[in-house]
Symmetry: C2
Subunit: 349 residues, 2 copies
DNA sequence: ATGAAAGCGCTAACAC
DNA sequence: GTGTTAGCGCTTTCAT
């Protein structure tokens, strides 16, 4: 028996989506009871249930959630608002989210902001107009109208990735400021003193900015300033890391450490150094950020900080799932993960 | 002036979502006209329009798309069904899709199948129940009920990634069989004869399977058989490529070429070979698949086939956008991209 | 265990 | 230009 939803196969010309009424008529059972069967609600006799299911399957009926949602005032959608899919980080967060929502009736709906606050506001408005059961949104910085919408949405809001600031409701992430600080301290402790920094030129990537701030602050405590820095635009990849590392070291040959804002450019830097015959981590130390698993297996294991991406996605989804099950639960959950510093082989110990 | 949607700020205790009626009352304009203003439809005097917009903004009204969709029978959602977010390929496809949909009123909704046909069927059913404007779905292989649903959905269906087979409606992708074949031919032509293959153990990754088939077929034409092969499970990363390459070469030291089913493990293999002092591509040639940009910058540029991921996402989204604008357009579009073989430096020329 | 009536919040169609 | 009416396809509630 093959399903043939969601259109009547009896009238191939008139492609009208099937309704409950069609199933009701086909099965000789009232619409209401059909609805009950299809949602496993209330008591229905086995005989009626069987009749209904048979008819629904034969016709290929697919329920209309739009109508269902309107009538029941319940929507199983979770809005997920992230800056980009190209940054490896976010697909991983998504994987974490879906792995949890998979065991619930909830469905993620993704919106991409391209790191633009105005676009974020727009996407948020768009998504809230679907009256989702919750919102997972990257970052703590939003436009004022966006914040107002979030505050007034009346649903669980989880701000993810970053915990340096005050969330509107719940928050799951790591302190990027602290991640930068810890790396800075580790670098100083390892005896490096002439330090360069390389990151994306994204004034609106607040996480990267906070990492940099924590980093410079840690260095300052040791009486050190960043000696050279480079902010690039465009995507990150090995080639970019190579190129910019070569340039920076040409400009500042006395650097003994470079801190990169992500693992990919750090890996490019590492490959370049190896070919240039530079002793890593002896003469030059390197560190990245993210803890990308797919980069395990470089000639030397990169020093980095694990950004706990999967975990963040999971925890955020769990908060939404929990509170969507029981709307009376108090909000304001705070999950501040401790991002492990992985010293690898590119930071001398 | 700050928006405070979507709940009435006048009654902070009773958190009822605002409706058109609220805006209507607050502005002294009929619901219908409010609706017109908010959708920029029909003729409304500037004065009325201003009154309405002011009231809507002041109250923080966010329209209810559920009700709107039910009434208008129009839904601006596009269902995107893909196997995974962990495989780098799919986020890139998503980027292509969103880049096009961004300029339209359409919104992607993503469902993840984990390469499981039954999960795919389930996700599809779930998504169709939202009556989306179109479906973009990875692959040409689906369960029978899933195919029936797609056939009967009455909306544009675009099957992406793969063109080796018959689509239900439209199709955008590359021929993986041909990609494998072309690579096989290039390898033979370069004079390699003792060839190994390494891929993921995914009986349900039909694209990988087809590549392998095309590959072995090309070799067969040259009178060659794959001499060693390894199918691994779990994610792909540099480390896996290293490890398995070491094992394979230990087992079959006389191989002069290894074809990998993706760039990441190929890159791991390359790094291992370099450290082992193996002359690449002289003594051993290597090739991957995908053409990942972020891997440009390896010590040697990997031979690979560009899978045209962004382009596929874009083309698929364009088909949906086009046909959603004009439902009378004929379906069955076929976009078969020609995946460029990039010989790189790991395939001697 | 089943059915009938009302209505979720919006828009299409038509009147004025 | 603006308002009125009648649903969209379900689920809630209440009756039986």
């Amino acid at each position: 028996m093959t399903a043939t939803p969601p259109f009547s196969s009896d009238s191939p010309d008139q492609r009208r989506p099937l309704t409950l009424r069609d199933v009701s008529e086909a099965s000789g059972v009232s619409e209401m009871t059909v609805s009950r069967v299809l949602r496993n609600r209330g008591d229905v006799s086995d005989r009626t249930r069987a009749k209904v299911l048979e008819a629904a399957k034969r016709l290929g009926y697919v329920p209309n959630k739009i109508a269902g949602a309107l009538a029941s005032q319940r929507v199983n959608l979770v809005a997920v608002i992230i800056p980009s899919m190209s940054n490896l980080v976010f697909p991983e967060v998504m994987t974490g989210i879906t792995s949890v929502l998979d065991d619930t009736p909830l469905q993620p709906v993704v919106g991409i902001t391209n790191y633009k606050p105005d676009k974020e506001e727009e996407v948020l408005y768009e998504m809230l107009s679907w009256r989702p059961s919750g919102v997972i949104i990257a970052g703590l910085e939003h436009t004022e109208p966006a914040k107002a919408m979030l505050r007034n949405a009346g649903i669980p809001i989880v701000e993810i990735m970053d915990t340096d600031g005050e969330p509107i409701d719940a928050m799951v992430g790591i302190s990027h400021r602290r991640a930068g600080k810890v790396m800075g301290e580790a670098i100083l402790e390892a005896g490096y003193r002439r330090i360069g920094f390389m990151g994306t030129k994204m004034p609106l990537d607040h996480r990267a900015r906070k990492r940099f701030e924590g980093f410079t602050q840690a260095l300052a405590k040791g009486g050190i300033e960043v000696e050279d820095q480079e902010f690039y635009s465009g995507g990150s990849g090995l080639a970019k890391g190579r190129e910019l590392t070569a340039e920076m070291l040409k400009r500042s040959p006395d650097l003994d450490f470079i801190y990169y804002s992500n693992d990919l450019i750090a890996a490019g830097g590492l490959l370049w150094c190896q070919e240039a015959g530079i002793d890593v981590p002896g003469k030059l130390g390197l560190a990245g950020f993210n803890g990308l698993n797919l980069l395990k297996g470089l000639p030397k294991q990169l020093a980095t900080t694990d950004a706990c991406r999967l975990e963040i996605g999971r925890a955020a989804a769990e908060i939404i799932a929990k509170r969507s099950n029981d709307p009376n639960l108090p909000g304001g959950d705070r999950v501040m993960l401790d991002p492990p510093l992985q010293p690898g082989d590119t930071l001398r110990s």
